[in-house]
């Protein structure tokens, strides 16, 4: 799930907004508020909440989408642990998390650390360029990388040209390299976003903190851990949560680049949902996977936010 727009709002979940006091003021309209909210709420409920509840219900059945379904209780959920394919899909997500989250965050931190001491000229241009992978249709980007990974494509040719020809292989078709190949795509897609957010965060750290550290005799490494890292704690939380959610919800690129394959080497939960609901007639199972995915997403977001966010006023 790579909603560009949803990115900033995720953190809101953990940080409760300040609420205004509830009071009846003279002549202030109160009931009318519900009217303003109604249209948005109706559509939202009808196409988001209701299907969620229905999905929850569906997950307790075995259904092929055509004939009547059978009640199977929690067996679809048990399958999350017992069915090797589903298990694998989650394991693959773990691998993707490394690529979608850890690597881009590391790159972002590295650059933020290096750039923390200087003013960057032309930042607008850099920002624009680094942002492009985040902004573009990932289907398009997935096709681009599919071509790059093609056995007869640029990557292999490049390796050949630099005398590393023995490294050539069918990246997306090889059991061992398919998943990392997809992962690398994710790293590429996410690192720009991380960098921009971290740089923005670093720019907000008052220079006086760095000066104080320098006076105290800190070298660059100490400065990073003592000033930079704590200073961008908030951005770090946001980035980690968002990239993890992206990793968990990966669908488009898997569908385009590998179709879950070779075999099931690159399947992910979202892909399994699609596969089972619309291709193999295991609708109940698909629903259950969808629900568990949501629980995982929520738990991860909440957990990370709690761990990384300090409890300061």
């Amino acid at each position: 799930m790579e909603d560009l727009a949803a990115r900033p709002a995720i953190i809101e979940v953990v940080q409760s907004p300040k609420r205004r006091r509830q009071e009846r003021l003279p002549g202030e309209p109160r009931k009318v508020a519900y009217l303003y909210i109604l249209p948005a709420f109706l559509i939202y409920a009808a196409f988001n909440l209701v299907p969620l509840v229905q999905g929850f219900n569906l997950s307790f059945y075995n259904w092929d989408g055509i004939t009547t379904g059978q009640w199977v209780g929690l067996s679809n959920y048990r399958a999350v642990f017992s069915d090797p394919i589903i298990r694998d899909s989650y394991l693959h997500t773990l691998v993707l998390i490394v690529f979608y989250c850890f690597i881009p965050v590391a790159i972002g931190l590295l650059l933020a650390a290096l750039l923390s001491r200087m003013r960057i000229r032309g930042l607008t241009v850099f920002r624009m360029l680094l942002f492009l992978p985040t902004v573009l249709t990932d289907v398009v980007l997935a096709f681009a990388w599919t071509w790059i990974y093609d056995p007869k494509g640029p990557l292999n040719n490049f390796l050949q040209d630099v005398h590393l020809g023995f490294l050539r292989r069918p990246w997306l078709g090889d059991f061992h390299t398919a998943l990392p190949a997809v992962g690398l795509f994710g790293s590429w897609e996410e690192y720009g976003f991380c960098m921009i957010l971290f740089i923005a965060g670093v720019m907000k750290i008052p220079a006086s903190l760095y000066e104080a550290a320098r006076v105290d005799g800190a070298n660059a490494v100490r400065e990073f851990f003592a000033v930079t890292l704590p200073g961008i704690r908030y951005e770090l939380t946001v980035v980690v949560v968002l990239t993890m959610i992206d990793a968990l919800g990966t669908f488009d690129e898997v569908y385009i680049m590998t179709n879950g394959g070779p075999g099931t080497a690159t399947t992910v939960p979202a892909f399994e949902v699609y596969n089972r609901a619309f291709l193999t007639g295991q609708v109940g199972s698909a629903a259950a996977i969808g629900i568990t995915l949501m629980v995982v997403v929520f738990a991860v977001s909440y957990g990370i936010a709690k761990v990384l966010e300090p409890k300061d006023a």
Binding site: L114, R117, V140, F143, W188, L293
Partner: protein, 275 residues
């Protein structure tokens, strides 16, 4: 705060440039591949000797991309208009009015930000089917709006909350009704936020693949990303042609981004980096 030596600065800029280049090269790749002669197999980033711009025309006409484009445009514009309108209304209520249950209702919307499409897609499909709306733009629009509204309400509420309370009070003393306050004061005040919302919603809608894949089937109704996928299935070995189609698909969002990048970036950054 220039404690960096000149040499360090050069290294830093070099690194920045390097990473920018990495971010761009696959995109360049697509452009380059798209002007190779149709049917050929571009295998590197070298420019072809002959620029086959004709590929774009082929993709557009024979490849049905004119249709996909049209579908995407209709869907995206509808989603933007509808989602923005509803979000402004809802955000205005949450951001400026006090009423019972506002906290609970608001959190319900926030929930929508965490509910991944995967959790609802299954029942959504069957619901839409029972409404006989499979393979229509209407279904796609409604589903996308429902997701966009979750973010939109949050976003507009934050924007309206940032307005000084005295502004609203002055308007109430002046005798403006709730509706008039929204139209004449809060919307002009929150215009940058509204624009950002529209830009982000547009990009999300245009880029949406999963929903289009599930809810639309016929060529007439497929939106651009899904259309590209179908197209690639038909012309599997014709990389330049597929690349041309990809460029066509990517273009609108790129243009919107370039024109309104401030809104774009501010939207993604501010929400994430709110002071």
């Amino acid at each position: 705060m220039n404690a960096t030596t000149r040499r360090q600065a050069i290294i830093n800029y070099a690194l920045l440039v390097f990473f920018c280049f990495i971010a761009l090269f696959p995109i360049f790749g697509v452009f380059i591949a798209s002007v190779y002669p149709s049917g050929s197999q571009p295998s590197s980033f070298k420019l072809p000797s002959h620029f086959a711009f004709h590929n774009f025309v082929t993709a557009w006409t024979q490849g049905d991309f004119s249709m996909y484009f049209r579908s995407s445009a209709i869907v995206a514009v509808s989603v933007v208009v509808l989602a923005t309108g509803l979000s402004v209304l809802g955000g205005y209520a949450f951001g400026t009015m006090r009423f019972r249950g506002s906290k609970v209702l608001f959190y319900t919307f926030i929930l929508g930000l965490i509910i991944p499409t995967e959790a609802t897609i299954v029942s959504l499909y069957y619901d839409i089917r029972s409404l006989n709306l499979i393979d229509t733009w209407t279904a796609l629009i409604l589903v996308e709006v429902s997701g966009a509204v979750a973010f939109g309400v949050f976003w507009m509420r934050a924007a309206f909350l940032s307005a000084p309370r005295s502004l609203l009070e002055a308007a109430r003393i002046d005798g403006a009704s709730t509706w008039q306050i929204m139209w004449r004061i809060m919307i002009p005040f929150g215009w940058p936020a509204i624009l950002t919302l529209m830009v982000l919603t547009f990009a999300d809608s245009w880029n949406e693949f999963f929903l289009a894949l599930v809810l639309t089937t016929s060529n007439q109704h497929l939106t651009a990303p899904a259309g590209l996928q179908v197209f690639s299935g038909k012309y599997v070995t014709n990389t330049p042609l597929i690349a041309a189609g990809a460029v066509i698909v990517a273009l609108p969002v790129v243009m919107v981004f370039l024109l309104l990048q401030r809104q774009f970036i501010r939207g993604v950054l501010t929400g994430a980096v709110k002071g």
